[in-house]
Amino acid sequence: MEPAQPLIEIQDLHHTYEGAGAEPVHALRGVNLTIEDGEFVAIVGANGSGKTTLARHLNALLLPTRGRIRVAGLDVHDRAAWPTIRSEVAMVFQRPEDQIVATTVEDDVAFGPENLGHAPQEIERRIRRALTTVGMWEQRQRPPHLLSVGQQQRVAIAGALAMQPRCLVLDEATAMLDPAGRRQMQALLRGLHADGMTVVLITHWMSEATLAERIIALQEGRVAHNGSPRSLFIDLDKLASLGLEPPPVSLLASKVARHHPEVPGEVLTQDELIDGLTPLLADAGSHPPTTLSTPEPPDAGGQPLVVTRDLHHTYLADTPLAAKALNGVSAEVYREDVVALLGPTGSGKSTLLQHIAGLLEPHAGQMTVLGQDTSSSREVDQRRLRGRIGILFQRPEEQLFETYVGDDVAFGPRQLGLDHQAVRERVRWAMDLMGLPFQAYKDRFTQSLSGGERRKAALAGVLSLRPQLLLLDEPTAGLDPRSRRDLLAILRHLNTAEGMTLILATHNMDDVAVLTERVYVLNEGQVVMEGTTRRVFSRAAQLRALGLDVPSAVSVMTALHERGWCRSEDALTIDEAAAAILSCLPPPRSGQNAVEDGGEA
């Protein structure tokens, strides 16, 4: 039988962005790829490696500077083929709010089929099918801006599905979702793939990339890896050189295997790891519960920095669109704490942060920040308080406004009325701290920085106020693995070395595991769980029911625990989990492996 023609065929693809007066950027430098019908392919790579540029060539949104692309046998240079190409290869982008054109869900889904010139009955049929597939049929009459980000993203996928494509390309489409939204999206993609859809998934989440059958890693515009996820994720050196990280479970397995050669080190999923551990742990039999030597952080004494009592807030109060955001929140944050606010989208995390920052006025309840009652008295010196509280909103890089980085960072101190020398000192301190050396970066154009650098500049602009309390809303969302690791290290440093109190709202449980001491879990405007990070994450089932998750390490340990093995309940990070598992395992059988183990140790 003659082999079928590949769905997408790319030969020696080059793409160069020519900016007016700017240096041309060579985004792609010779990419060769084929994507077959019905494949599930993941594309990974550091920021700036050319992932988005490559994706936009897959349906002729960008045309090659050099090279050839054929989609479903059609040349992308043939303008007349574009409608066909775009109905065969549909695309979903990172931010749903930028791709929704209409004022109701169903009208938006209709946009593609309308463009393709289908009859009204056919369009209705497609809307119903697409919205049913993504589970949004019930919401079809609603305006998109009142939906959660996860729902908006599902509407965007429905809009793509309504064109009945053979291939769906998702460009970091899960970056902004909460754990539940992410799980739903992954289940949706698996279902579509099972039904024969070709899926191309661009992602920064390595555990998400393991869903794919094939993984393509880009580096500086070239294909650096093209093969199974396993072959990429077991090669830690190669990953590091690509600016990537293995999925947490793979990292855990490799750490355990390093000291215990009978454990398979090359696993991708939690199930594989547990299957690999089963014979060893079953041999060892029931093991007495172990406790690692990590003491619970003391319930810090002294004056709490932030106290809220029965806080209420309603958006658009006294209008028919009123929405209750906080429904009686009581919480306390002590000096030099690192506290995480967890909760599904719309649970009130951002609202609570804004209350602490003094940007919203509570409708009921009490709020004390840095010893000042901010809920009742209007005479509070808000400005002085504001200098002492820093807040970093979501996507802070969009809020830069000065031409030069140094000026933007200096905005806060200048507003505080400091003299020139003091402003300069603070700007220098903040920029150096953020890894943007003052001398090298102060006169750089803000807009010429990379995404990760811009986020750092924005944080420097908040730090230059020298706040005692730093509030962060989704600080690592949308960053590539390396920038994320950098930022987490900086936040840790701010807490330990500078004595700053941090409160962060996040969807990333692994960030919480490495950074925070205490956790508040919000749901529908109320605190539903609170306690030390360990204690909260020990209730995995409850967290999952809320649409949240636990860190990868906790997830593995909980699964072992459920089987009656290795009952160590206080492992939070990958290193702790590796130590806990090793302590439960029977000692490695002496033999040929011991040499290997010794060699590595």
Binding site: R56, P83, P113, I389, I391, F393, Q399, F411
Partner: protein, 299 residues
């Protein structure tokens, strides 16, 4: 601080879903009927016409099942302006209301004179503004933006034949409406971020205008950049979904007018004609004369 809620000021598209005859009208017919009644309001200058108009507005409001309180609440900010307008009309009556006309003086204090003519002017113009306000609220509360857009396109469709870009215009309006709340939220977030960094949006004092303008810069620059980036993203997304302009595009919604829609339009036309007729024959004068004789006969 509680004023930092920009969506509160965005009333466009504040649709309030109710199951009513007004909500169900074909948007094209609703728009045309609305236009006719607005014409009637604009040209009504007599008591009788305005009494009829107020009754009409009340009837429409009750048919629409919309909450009266919420509909009228939007008037509150306009009350000072209405009072000021009334005051000016009393202090500086138009020249045409001179003694030549049969205006009788009701009340006089210094140079301020209130005649029957100025009283009528004040009452009628206030009533007209209130009627217009309630009518507009009625339209936007009972019609989704999508319906409004499709209605406009339907009304303008005949002009497409003479080269008027009805479809493109409609798409532009839809996207603009779609992004109003998004940009309002964006602006709110920028204001908060700058306040948190010590910016001050509330002080007064000398050079306030210069300060205010300089304060806007940190907001406008990112807002423009974000809007540009957004529109670029939107263009790419529309491209990816096969948009190539209006030519071979189909419409999912086909508006179908039913008997109710025709009845509503005919009723609105009849009402408009009646109001204009009442105004031209000055039924008021007839009624007042009749009332005078009636009162005289009582004595």
């Amino acid at each position: 601080m509680s004023q930092l809620e920009f969506l509160r000021y965005v009333t466009i598209g504040q649709y309030l879903g109710r199951d009513s005859i007004i909500h169900r009208l074909d948007p094209r017919f609703k728009l045309l009927a609305f236009t006719l009644i607005v014409v009637a309001v604009t040209f009504s200058s007599t008591y009788t016409a305005n009494v009829l108009l107020v009754l009409m507005v009340a009837l429409l409001l009750s048919l629409s099942k919309l909450p009266l309180g919420h509909t009228l609440r939007g008037l509150r900010p306009a009350l000072p302006a209405l009072a000021l307008l009334a005051l000016f009309q009393m202090l500086f009556p138009p020249q045409s209301f001179g003694p030549a006309q049969d205006c009788t003086v009701i009340w006089q204090w210094g140079f301020v004179t209130l005649t029957t003519c100025t009283l009528q002017l004040i009452v009628v113009s206030t009533a007209r503004l209130v009627e217009l306000f309630v009518l507009t609220s009625l339209l936007t509360f009972s019609t989704t933006t999508t319906e409004l857009v499709h209605g406009t396109e339907g009304v303008l469709a005949p002009l497409q034949r003479i080269g008027f870009p009805a479809h493109e215009l409609t798409l532009v309006v839809t996207i603009a409406l779609r992004f109003v709340p998004t940009l309002a939220l964006q602006m709110e977030r920028l204001v908060k971020a700058q306040i948190a960094r010590g910016a001050d949006f509330g002080t007064s004092g000398p050079f306030r205008i210069i300060k205010a303008t300089r304060r806007l810069l940190p907001l406008l620059v990112p807002l423009f950049l974000i809007s540009l980036r957004r529109s670029e993203a939107l263009i790419v997304a529309m491209d990816a979904r096969g948009y190539t302009g209006g030519r071979q595009r189909t419409q999912r919604r086909r508006l179908h007018a039913g008997p109710t829609d025709y009845v509503a339009l005919i009723a609105a036309t009849g009402f408009c004609v009646a109001i204009l007729w009442i105004d031209t024959i000055s039924l008021d004068q007839v009624l007042i004369a009749w009332l005078d004789t009636f009162l005289a006969s009582l004595k």
